[in-house]
């Protein structure tokens, strides 16, 4: 995972020619520690601190009011302590699947301002998109079947770094 993040950090720097306008925004839960690690990887390469924020997309989900039963998902805080206007935003998540989370995150981000661009970083792309969304930086492409589940475990959240594929 460390090597993958270093590789993505290099790709980001290569594609964006400089870091001055870059900001990282991680999607809760696991996108946040990945964004922090990416910030560290970028700092190791060129000593520049990229501002990092956390985004909770619960209130933007498209399936929120569709459940007839069951409690509402827990809302956690969004912390973007910088202006995103005219910035190049790197949106970070662990697994890219249907694309619906990213759709919600794009809506949420745009409520915070008008960034110059938004690029998408994911650790794992498992396919099965339901919306026209594509990642700009991918840790690993993992072809899966719909019946499988893919979990990225992180030291910060789960006590270990590992990608787990489970057959249902």
């Amino acid at each position: 995972m460390g090597r993958t993040l270093t590789r993505i950090a290099h790709e980001i720097l290569e594609r964006n020619r400089g870091v001055e306008e870059l900001c990282l925004v991680g999607i809760r839960t696991r996108g946040v520690p990945i964004a922090r690690r990416l910030a560290r990887a970028i700092a190791e390469i060129n000593k520049h601190e990229v501002p990092t924020g956390a985004l909770d997309i619960t209130l933007y989900r498209d399936d929120l009011m569709r459940h007839a039963v069951g409690p509402q998902p827990v809302v956690r805080s969004t912390e973007i302590p910088f202006s995103i206007d005219d910035k190049k935003i790197l949106l970070v998540d662990d697994v890219l699947y249907t694309g619906r989370t990213i759709r919600a995150a794009l809506d949420a981000l745009i409520d915070f301002g008008r960034p110059k661009s938004i690029q998408l970083v994911v650790m794992v792309d498992r396919g099965h998109r339901e919306l026209p969304i594509k990642a700009d930086y991918v840790g690993k492409n993992l072809p899966t079947s719909l019946s499988q589940s893919v979990q990225v475990h992180l030291l910060e959240v789960d006590g270990r770094d590992e990608v787990e594929i489970q057959d249902a």
Binding site: L59, Y60, L64, P71, Q72, V75, S77, E79, D111, F112
Partner: protein, 306 residues
């Protein structure tokens, strides 16, 4: 949970979930665009049978920040003046299929009646002398934000204990979360059996505020005082009014709360209301986040028992 009728229906876990959700909602009020699409397409009716500025405005702002369509019915301009009963008004509103109704009513239990009649979710915004749950939730949120906890704090509540729905909701909530609650007021305004609710009852404000972490003032509700409860407003102020000298008996980091509207010079001195210990305007600000949390949590699925 279908409705929010009373704090007494809520478990400690449910209260904590509401307060945690409110913490996340607070950030929305700090954004340049103070709106999320969560309740898009939901209709919320604010039905107010009593005058209210704070609570009604607070609910309306909360609803709008969640993108709900809101509708205000003030009784002074409605068919209620033509003699329509609460049940009939409710059934007529219900026929237009709103998703939620926020009700403020002068009779205790009005919300329970409505909850039985309506499929819409009902939020109690104050019913008679019974409960005012969102006020107690925002009070708890303010205390937790300032003190970091509620358990083990000494909370002294001073004022008209008899007519106060804010008191009843707060006692329920604070004792559930483990605070040590002391209620203080004139003997004529202490309801029978108050001590059974796990609170200390006192008639001496100087004793009651000693060592308090939180002082919560209650309004003297002149509109509900049909009997001779108090000799005079001036005498009330000298015996129970919150003055700087009385505040000095509490903990050095005490906070002073008031649900509003304040009667300056009756239950609270102006220098205390505007002083450094006062968190009265913070309570108002927090009210929006807490009501957003309640609206969000009720708008989704109801539990299996529903």
């Amino acid at each position: 949970m279908k409705d929010l009728l009373a704090i007494s229906d809520l478990s400690r876990e449910e209260i904590t979930l509401i307060l945690d959700t409110a913490e996340a909602m607070q950030e929305i009020g700090e954004r340049p665009i103070k709106k999320v699409p969560t309740l898009r397409g939901k209709t919320v009716v604010n039905l107010f049978y009593e005058p209210s500025t704070r609570t009604r405005t607070s609910f309306e702002i909360a609803e709008k920040r969640l993108s709900a369509d809101t509708l205000n019915i003030a009784v002074s301009t409605s068919s209620v003046l033509k003699g329509e009963t609460l049940a009939d008004t409710a059934m007529n509103i219900e026929a237009m299929a709103p998703d939620m109704i926020v009700l403020r009513h002068p009779s205790s239990g009005a919300c329970h009646v409505l909850a039985r009649l309506c499929r819409s979710r009902i939020i109690n915004a104050g019913d008679g002398m019974h409960e005012h749950p969102t006020q107690a939730l925002l009070d708890a949120f303010t205390i937790r934000e300032r003190k970091g906890r509620i358990e083990g704090l000494k909370v002294t509540i001073v004022g008209d204990l008899l007519h106060s729905r804010v008191l009843r909701s707060n006692i329920e909530l604070l004792t559930k979360l483990g605070a040590d609650v002391c209620a203080c007021g004139p003997r004529t305004l202490i309801p029978v059996g108050l001590a059974r609710h796990g609170v200390t009852v006192s008639t001496s404000v100087d004793e009651a505020v000693a060592g308090a972490d939180v002082i919560m003032m209650l309004r003297i509700q002149q509109e509900r005082m049909q009997g001779a409860f108090l000799p005079s407003v001036r005498e009330y102020f000298s015996t129970f009014g919150m003055t700087a000298a009385r505040v000095a008996r509490a903990k050095p980091d005490v906070i002073i709360m008031h649900p509003g509207p304040m009667n300056r010079g009756v239950e609270i001195a102006s220098d205390v209301a505007d002083g450094p210990y006062s968190v009265i305007l913070e309570q108002v600000a927090n009210g929006v986040a807490v009501r957003m949390a309640v609206l969000y949590l009720l708008a989704g699925g109801a539990d299996a028992s529903d």
